[in-house]
Symmetry: D2
Subunit: 303 residues, 4 copies
């Protein structure tokens, strides 16, 4: 298969979707992004990288960071986190308090905001800084030492974080936070504010397509842990549209409101797409269309 | 009717219930209160006061303060508050987030915590200090210039206020707070931390049995506003047991986790009872029994 | 007070509201009613009756029948029914399954549909026919032997009763029905299909303003049972607007989708109003306005 | 790989789990099954079959039938069904009404009861009998013309179907049933009452591991439709434990309260396990353990 041709074809095929949907605008930094951009990159298990479109434009990875925070907690701290967060799909919006209350402060999974806050809290306890730990993982896997958080985004996010503060205080009221609410929230928004390109993200995600082995050949996660992250991504990675994503794309994937999505073809490659326009469920419209196109053309769905 | 005899009889009749239930223990100051206490006071519309039992022991009025904060907002600011809080019973625990989320940040009524926080927020905007405004109303109506907040209770409450902070941040995320979350929470816990006796509370509540006219003969509320507060007390004043309270007692009433309850016999008198042991719904066991006894003996139910 | 003048005045005052709202149209018989009608009647404790407007036009009493079915179960069977139905406001629409499921098949109160179905089920067990028992009570209290169910309404209702069938089967699945689902539903819709005039309804409701004593001077309910029905009406009688109704009208009341409302001034009189146009909560727009006018003019609110 | 050895090993390895959990006992026919049984079968894409343990004992397939009803509706009727049922995980028990009500009668997915009732309703419209259509598919794929419903189970199920009747009437009230409630329920319980062995079920499921091609080489479903059923199984196939199942087993699977589970290794084989003891989520304890063992030993997880 000529992957470069494939990516170029996909860039052409998704053009009608680029610009569709709405750019996230709850903070000005996200709202100002030009929606008419689309990028795609693939990092193969063997170490090759292919890119097309706007694959070298940095964007805010937002919720995609949740995958890496979870990987680090599993790597540094083992399976204890599963006592503080479930692994089930939620059937509710990503920032809902309803299920959290009816289940006594144990979030449904690590990819809804409440669950990701618990994971960041643990990462903060274990490493001293969730945001720096995630950033350093990104730098190591990409070989790009300029990967960094956009502090304007983080500061703006923090000023607009009442909903996350509500979740965090609720978790604290249930005894499910180890650190002060303010420290956890700061660490969490900083981690979400990392700015990366499609190519960066494909490289950073590659270890999930490589049984847990990182770019330098050392093992980050056991094969079992790797599979488990992929399983959680497939069932819970795309907000309240995980079933639809599994149905259309058929790959483990994680999206962010910045318009990025990473997906994993186990044992083959990691894919990253980006286009800022979001559909009703908060996933990039052109991004999902591109991944649909990808699995249709390659047959590389897990099903 | 010989009211003094009646109160003395009630003190005797409820003895089997005194000490039943559980004292609130989420902060140490409440948990340390001796449960074997019971007091009752009546302040008539005409200005007489009767007391029996431990009616001169100060206790933490807690949620009872919500009635007075609401009265002040209506007095100073008119009916605008009803755009920010509904008047319907909630069918859910007093500190629940579920209904709040499903109704987009408009609390069901001013006596669940979320609604009371909105009322305190408005009172803060209008007066500069919700807690001092409520305290001054209490002093004026009782003629007791020593009524004050217990600052140990308030400080302890503030350290244990994650659940209220969660509610307040949620309200803020929906645009339903005017002041910073921290300022509102401080004002709110201070108002709840007022320490008062049964006799104080009966006197302070008397204007609700007097068509809105205060102790010095000046009008605090219009007759219509007064009736409306009584209506909200009857349908929403005793947590998730308002139906049961209406059924057993048949009077507008408001309870607090300190074990106090105030009730109103329209055009006749205000009653205050106190006993620290709480039943499952958070209302004083002996207090409800005493009010039940009171309406059974006097026939002064509104029904 | 000249009650006849008062009623005539109210008929004039509410004219701007007559025709407002929407006539219930889930069955054709209700949908065909002319919305430009309004009637009001008062039956005093002493036996006098006053009427104005369209007070002699029969209409479908629908949910108003729930009050009388409850009265009969309490009269014939005592307090056992309260093990099968709660007395708390619901905070949810009248035909909701949500709270029923989360509370294991015990309806929140006897005036939401699920609770009324449980009451009719018990009345069916005790009397052999809930519908005939309610009808006979109506005939006895009104002295009008022509009171009867509209069988076209009942048949039409039964054909459109999937939502009630859903509730009834749910109750059965929780072990909270004694009779077959079909028999209970038939009895229930028949009871709701009674056609009565405002004057009939005011007379039939009078015993709730007379401490439980019926038209012929015999006792139907104890004073305590009577007060309790009034308490349930005030907290739960007007669908999800009970708080609003208590606030505006300040009387125990029960509404139906036929546009009727009955209300009780304890120890004074029963009032009945009717106008087919319903507001968003399912209560007659002009009917609520008329009762608001009535309590404002007379001061006969319970608060 | 020596599959026969593998299956024999798994039978030995899971013995500690056989008999664990609780046998479904809501109908006597299920409650009477001996829990100390375990069977496993594999049908490869190439046509080979391997079995071990109690793989030739018929059991009640129950909810496993939902996969085949869905396959037939897609085969006969195309994608129209997705207008009447979503494809998202539910986050609620399999027979919950709550989400159904809050989403206006569109079930979350075709594998919760409400969704399966909608699918059976459509299959009834298209074929004249959902139960016979599923039975005939089973006979054709297994080559076993004795596959049939256990009519005692079906009759008993129908007598105990108040919860499903509640769901069906609710769907009807929302306009989401085409046939009379009674006809749909009969068809649905009949389809669930099919009695089959592990070996039968592995053979019947094989087309989902063969891109949609049936036992006789004719195409039942398109490759895309096949993948989509597998995706729905992975995200929604094991009641409220789909995330856990994806995490532990990592294969599309569908369980039933009879203790059976089918799973699919895309392009390789179908697996069927059976042991009557159910865990808290309603999935066979020994069955899930056996599939976990299977994917651990073979590495044939999709992740």
């Amino acid at each position: 298969m000529d992957i470069q041709n494939l990516l170029d074809d996909i860039v052409g095929a998704v053009q009608p979707h680029v610009g569709q949907g709405n750019v996230a605008d709850y903070i000005p930094q996200l709202g100002a992004v030009d929606p008419h951009q689309f990028g795609i990159s693939i990092a193969t298990r063997d170490g090759d990288v292919y890119s097309s479109g706007d694959a070298h434009v940095p964007f805010s990875i937002q919720s995609i960071s949740k995958v890496f925070a979870l990987a680090l907690v599993l790597a540094f701290d083992g399976d204890g986190i599963w006592k503080r967060v479930f692994r089930e799909p939620s059937g509710n919006p990503f920032n809902s308090l309803i299920q959290l209350e009816s289940e006594d402060g144990i979030p449904r999974n690590p990819f809804i905001n409440a669950g990701a806050i618990v994971v960041s809290d643990r990462l903060l306890s274990v490493t001293g800084s969730a945001a720096l730990a995630v950033r350093d993982l990104m730098r190591r896997e990409t070989g790009n030492s300029t990967v960094a958080a956009d502090h304007y985004v983080a500061a703006s996010e923090l000023r607009n974080s009442h909903r996350n503060a509500s979740l965090a205080h609720f978790l604290a009221s249930c005894g499910n936070l180890e650190n002060p609410v303010e420290a956890v929230l700061e660490s969490y928004v900083e981690q979400c504010a990392l700015a990366m390109t499609c190519e960066d993200l494909a490289l950073a995600t590659r270890f999930l397509a490589a049984n847990g082995v990182g770019a330098d050949g050392t093992r980050l996660l056991s094969p079992a842990q790797t599979k488990r992250i992929n399983a959680v991504m497939l069932t819970c990675g795309t907000y309240d549209a995980a079933g639809e994503f599994a149905y259309r794309v058929g790959l483990p994937g994680k999206s962010g409101v910045g318009g990025g999505i990473v997906a994993v073809v186990p044992n083959k490659c990691a894919i990253s797409v980006w286009s800022p326009g979001l559909g009703r469920s908060g996933n990039s419209v052109a991004g999902v269309a591109a991944l649909d196109e990808f699995t249709t053309r390659t047959g590389w769905s897990v099903f």
